[in-house]
Symmetry: C2
Subunit: 215 residues, 2 copies
């Protein structure tokens, strides 16, 4: 009976984690869209929703601690619970970066974009896909899916380097753009970090399956 | 006898965590010094030492998981072990940012600094002090020390804003500086994040003492 309760708890923990992941993925997409469309209402929504992400993190944290305290999870289950505790930190940081991006949308409120954004939305799509793929790999406990996802991080890094070069050139040619261009550089930096956090989740999946930690 | 073993394990866990914290504090100071003195050897040392930080994190992680698995820590001890698991993530991220700064030192190898750095080293001193204060608050389980440390984050934020304004002005006046100035902006951003991670640790101390999570 107690074991039954325990299995239910583990299932619920996993579902909560996936709900948090889906919200974070939405937040990333919405933040990039708010920037490219200069949609202030959407940016404000992203900032407001961050509280929900924080609450979900704390709720899942509490579930994990309760599971540790009331049960004595063994080997595989222990890894599931302790990695959940780590994965939510990565998810929460991603959501923080989404709000960082939304705040930049608000800052650029009164100025037209210095160029139509192409690479940044592309990077945003890649980064948010990585989050979904990482969570799929987690649900399926799939090494292959984790490895495929982690490889996408190289594409993100290439895009980041291209955006960096591009924006530096624009700033050199048109010094009046440095304010906005700097903010766009930070957006690219935040997206690169989001992809890094997705990679972390992939590494946690590898740990759950193999018991091996690698970085 | 088992309980005795368990207390020793908790003490050792705490000491390992403090050793990791001291190393991370050194890494932060060294990274900023490598930049201001354009000391490439020091920058390379910081980058090389990051592996040690990663290993310490994984080692402490393993200790925590073993403690969860073999013992059934109750209330206060449970909080100690589970927050150790969170604090090491913050410490590891700080060290990552120190290596980010050291990499920027290497990138600027062939160019003189566009200005003598004053605010950045000041920000570095503040951020690394926050790390030490956060760990002291942790050792003493002191709410007061945690709160004092967290208040320093405002000073860091003010310095960050000042550095940002300053560098944007330099870029506007001297477009040839945008490459380096952008890198310096990122350095300031990394230091601001390091201070945020120190603040996280302060919040974990508050949780250990009160059982209340706040952000």
């Amino acid at each position: 009976m107690i074991r039954r309760f325990y299995r239910d708890e583990l299932t619920e923990l996993e579902q909560e984690l996936l709900r948090m992941g889906a919200l974070v993925e939405d937040q990333i997409r919405a933040s990039v869209r708010s920037l490219t469309e200069q949609n202030l209402a959407l940016a404000k929504k992203v900032i407001a929703e961050d509280d929900r992400v924080d609450h979900m993190e704390m709720d899942i944290e509490q579930r994990c601690l309760t599971l540790f305290a009331l049960e004595q999870p063994l080997a595989g289950d222990l890894r599931t619970v302790s990695t959940a505790l780590k994965i939510i930190t990565d998810l929460e940081r991603m959501a923080d970066h989404a709000t960082d991006i939304a705040r930049i949308t608000l800052r650029l409120e009164h100025e037209p974009l210095i160029k139509p954004l192409v690479d940044i939305p592309e990077m945003g799509r890649l980064a948010s896909s990585m989050v979904r793929l990482a969570l799929n790999a987690y649900v399926h406990r799939s090494l292959e899916e984790a490895a495929t996802m982690i490889r996408l991080d190289d594409d993100v890094d290439h895009l980041y380097a291209a955006i960096f070069r591009d924006l530096l050139e624009i700033m050199r040619d048109r010094p009046d753009t440095v304010g906005q261009a700097t903010h766009l550089l930070f957006v690219a930096n935040y997206l690169e970090r989001i992809a890094d956090h997705a990679t972390n989740i992939g590494e946690w999946v590898i740990y759950i399956v193999t018991g091996e930690r690698r970085k």
